[in-house]
Amino acid sequence: MRSALFALILMVCGVPAVKAETLQPILQTYATEIAKPSRKTVGETIDTIAASGLPQVTAFLEQWSEKNIWQRTDGTFFVATAAGDSLSLTDMDTQIKTTAPKSDFKQLKPNGGVRRLIATALVQFQLLDPDLTRRKTAVASIARRPEAAQLIPLMASIDGEVDVVLKARKIQLANFLSARFATETQDRIAAINSLSADTSVEARAVLNQILTTTTGVAGTAPQGNIAAILDPMVAPDSSYGALVESKLAPPKQTVSDIKKVLEANIIEGRIAGFPLAQMDDPLMREAAYSALAAQDSVPTLITKELRDAALFSHVFYEIYAEPNAQITAAAEVARKSADNHVTTAQFADLTLDALSLASIFFLAAIGLAITFGVMGVINMAHGEFIMMGAYTGYVVQLFIPNYTVSIFVALPLAFAVTFLAGVVMERLVIRRLYHRPLETLLATFGVSIALQQLAKNVFGTQARPLTSPDWLAGAWIINDVIQISFIRIAIFILALLFLCLIIYILKKTRLGLEVRAVTQNPGMASSMGINPDRINMMTFGLGSGIAGIAGVAIGLYAKVTSEMGSDYIVQSFMTVVVGGVGNVWGTLAGAAMIGFGQKGIEWLNPSNTLAAQTYMILFVILFIQFRPKGIVALKGRAAGD
């Protein structure tokens, strides 16, 4: 298999079959460069090694890139794998295997930049490799560092490609390459036009590369493919800076320049006749400087007028690096169209993100919608139930290493654990406080800090890993702009599931009927044979149990720490209050509003997430003013005011 590979490479590359030579001497010539490679200089070395045409080159480059090359103290290189204190070595030329103590060897660790160059050099060997992964690596490498020279081998490899997906990818890449590097203008324009609906980052990169411009300034507009003539007055100071840089104008004095000049020209406590004491006024400083300039001892002060005059007498322009105006014109059109597509896609992506955030808020708050919304109990320990759920997930993963199985064990177990915790808390604490709702806040806050500290004592303050199974690990990628991770989709589905489940329980089951009866009129309910104690206990347990499941989900996408609950508690209460208490649909509406609102504000001010959160809370506070009962409000006497 390996020899077949070599033969293939030799055929393709057209290197004449020279007599077997050894690689080691070539490597020794460049020993220092290989041992301590730097991206800027190693390219030549790699090229030389590759150009030797030896069959061992591919293996060497691959092993080098994977940090499997070790250098003996005498300078010889080996392919080696470490096992404890010893190394199992393979001679690169003879393939003879030996072992040796590790201490005599030094591992070569080429950095990421060098590895990328190695990968580029490997492309020519790998593009036609029978091994699919090698071909994929080669294509990925082209995508990362597109070069003109790769166009022809890439094109040549398309017809023979058997893998459908890879073939499509090769065609796409070839298209990108021909847009930039094809020799015929016609070919390039055709390729460019085909990119006008492509929202991928790579396609946009191609267009942007073609449209690279440089700015310049001159007395008159120069010849060439000019992109635009600029107005210098948009940013006059930096425009003048450009003038100075092109040596077309004298530099403008800064405040500290003036200061230095003045300090150097003090004569008997005076500067050009101005007393030193007056120099605390910036205007007087300028006057003194001008006076000095009038004596010809310093350059003239560049005033605003002088600056503007200089700006107006020059042309500021932007010029394309690409000389062919036809191509840049086509690319501009394509880019504009692509940008429109991207804007639409970005909007869709933002909507997805908002939807995801809303579903996370909903999941965190839905338990509260029951305990707070339906029962009217303020449970400050709700966040800690979320945390308990997450830690349950972590503990389950300790015992069940298979992530898929462990998730399916963890979800019901988290529900059971927090359901139980909820029931215990209801029996011991909440039950005694139904007539003092404000005080449930205090008591459950006490439970909350106790639980948080307990978690710290048991698990430590450090974050614990909760890893999602492989099938949840990636992202659903529609295109380069619109994508969403599977775990978020799972959370979204989970949220929907719970919505339906709770609506079903409350509306269609006996328990739901009894819950509604108890919350509306406990006295009447108990006279009808419903045991309110049992109902309250079950309801509270249900709300807490759902918090536990939310904990597993949140832990999967974010983190598991003892303080994770407190991140969600205020948000969750706001979600329920904004949505309208006593109504699960309201919680959904509240979560949607907060999720979309927060993403919307983030979009307006993308560099500051904190501000988005702040303004979202302010918005919620204001919103409550106008709809004190929330989005989905109960009216009339049932509202109970």
Binding site: V114, L357, V481, I484, S485, I487
Partner: protein, 429 residues
């Protein structure tokens, strides 16, 4: 939250005496070493390790015969991750417990809280954590990295070795990332990177919703330039960030990330298999291969437990403590002023090889290491510079470029080289 712990803590300083195996010569009183690290609250996880490291170092020193013929005694207090409480406890250590030196603090804000107290009472503090610089106190020795010992070399590595042309500076919204990013922005502009090619974003502590930000970073690649992320994201927030990065399928080959606050400990909260190849810059990694390091790790595991890992601030304490011992021995006293004079020029071997030197600006000269994350959660060191002298005032911000710190000859931590005057003798809090 400071509030719940303000009363009566004077009587409550926990005094922990470290027993010595060697019977020490007659000595008026043991020499007291204050340890000011949070043992509870959010910083406990990081700082407790440093407290243990200090106890180990003191025990080792006592085994060697103590200092100046006296036994060393650790005075451990708990400022509970509560910044005002740091000032309160520092005052207690210096006035009530009469300690000769303090080793402590982690966060910048806690250091700023302690500074006025230390300066008022002329104490001596060794600060072991990488920080944002722009500060120089007569009473503090900074044994952690200044920005030019961590951020600048890492950025150089990005520019030179990875060929990064477009930078995303992502950070948690507090002083260290803010200042570091300011310095880096200015540095990158000096290096010819256009302002449009630098994307800066700040997120709150504990941020968990990273989807949009990661998407923003990916879209930076749309003009075909190589994108790199410089992360000053702090603590737990890293977990969500790396998870989202992995979910989006971004490998270190596509968009490399270099982090300044991610060490072995932060990675333990994650499945690192999808993060292989991303980077971190420190002055020390546990994986550094040297005899001194092997010994240190062995001693640490014997003292604290087999499962414990070592990290960069521990090395800083290791160097700082030993330098202090040597300086006090040279000075023949633990008097703060005498020890300070003796500190300048102190040399001590690094755990990563080479030697650290204490400079007149109270910073160390140390090598900078860049490591790639491996699947097992350790770092593979792929780059190590020679010793870089720490710089209190960065050269890349105009306001501090003119400032210089030299306590040895100029006797000033904030010396303006343009006007040749000392701006102030106390530090800016």
């Amino acid at each position: 939250m400071s509030i719940r712990s303000t009363l009566l803590s004077t009587i409550s300083a926990g005094v922990l005496s470290v027993a010595s195996s060697a019977a020490l010569a007659e000595c008026a009183a043991p020499i007291k070493v204050g340890v000011l690290h949070s043992l509870s609250g959010s910083m406990a996880i990081s700082e407790t390790t440093l407290k243990d490291a200090m106890l180990m170092l003191i025990e080792q020193q006592n085994t060697k015969g103590g200092l100046l013929g006296c036994e060393l005694e650790a005075v451990v207090v708990d400022p509970a991750s509560d910044w005002p409480l740091f000032a309160e406890k520092a005052r207690e250590l210096l006035t009530v417990n009469q300690v000769d030196v303090i080793f402590g603090n982690w966060t910048s804000v806690s250091r700023k809280s302690v500074l006025p107290v230390i300066e008022e009472l002329n104490g001596l503090l060794f600060y072991p954590v990488q920080y944002e610089g722009e500060e120089s106190s007569k009473n503090v020795f900074y044994t952690g990295a200044a920005p030019n010992q961590q951020a600048i070399p890492a950025t150089d590595y990005f520019l030179e070795e990875l060929g990064v042309e477009k930078f995303a500076l992502l950070g948690t919204d507090y002083v260290y990332p803010r200042t570091t990013n300011n310095i880096l922005e200015s540095y990158l502009k000096d290096k010819g990177i256009a302002a449009d090619d630098i994307f800066v974003n700040y997120t709150p502590f504990g941020q968990s919703d990273w989807a949009t930000i990661v998407a923003d970073v990916v879209s930076l690649g749309e003009d075909g330039k190589q994108v790199g992320v410089i992360s000053t994201i702090n603590g737990d927030a890293n977990i969500g960030f790396y998870k989202e990065l992995a979910a989006a399928g971004i490998s270190a080959d596509d968009i490399p990330v270099v982090a300044f606050s991610v060490g072995e400990e932060e990675l333990s909260g994650l499945d690192t298999s999808s993060l292989v190849g991303h980077l971190a810059a420190w002055n020390y990694f546990q994986s550094a291969e040297s005899e001194a390091n092997t010994d240190f790790i062995a001693a640490w595991k014997a003292f604290a437990g087999e499962e414990r890992v070592t990290n960069d601030p521990m090395e800083a304490h290791f160097i700082g403590f030993n330098m202090w011992v040597n300086a006090a021995t040279e000075a023949g006293t633990t008097d703060v002023d005498a020890v300070r004079s003796a500190m300048y020029g102190q040399v001590y071997p690094n755990l990563t090889g080479g030697t650290a030197v204490m400079l007149p600006n109270h910073h160390l000269a140390k090598p900078v290491l860049i490591g790639e994350i491996q699947a097992d959660g350790q770092f593979d060191i792929i780059s190590q510079t020679t010793e870089v002298p720490g710089d209190a005032w960065t050269d890349f911000l105009p306001a501090s470029a003119v400032l210089k710190s030299d306590w040895k000859d100029l006797g000033c931590g904030m010396y303006n080289v343009e006007t040749e005057t000392c701006v102030q003798l106390t530090s800016n809090y």
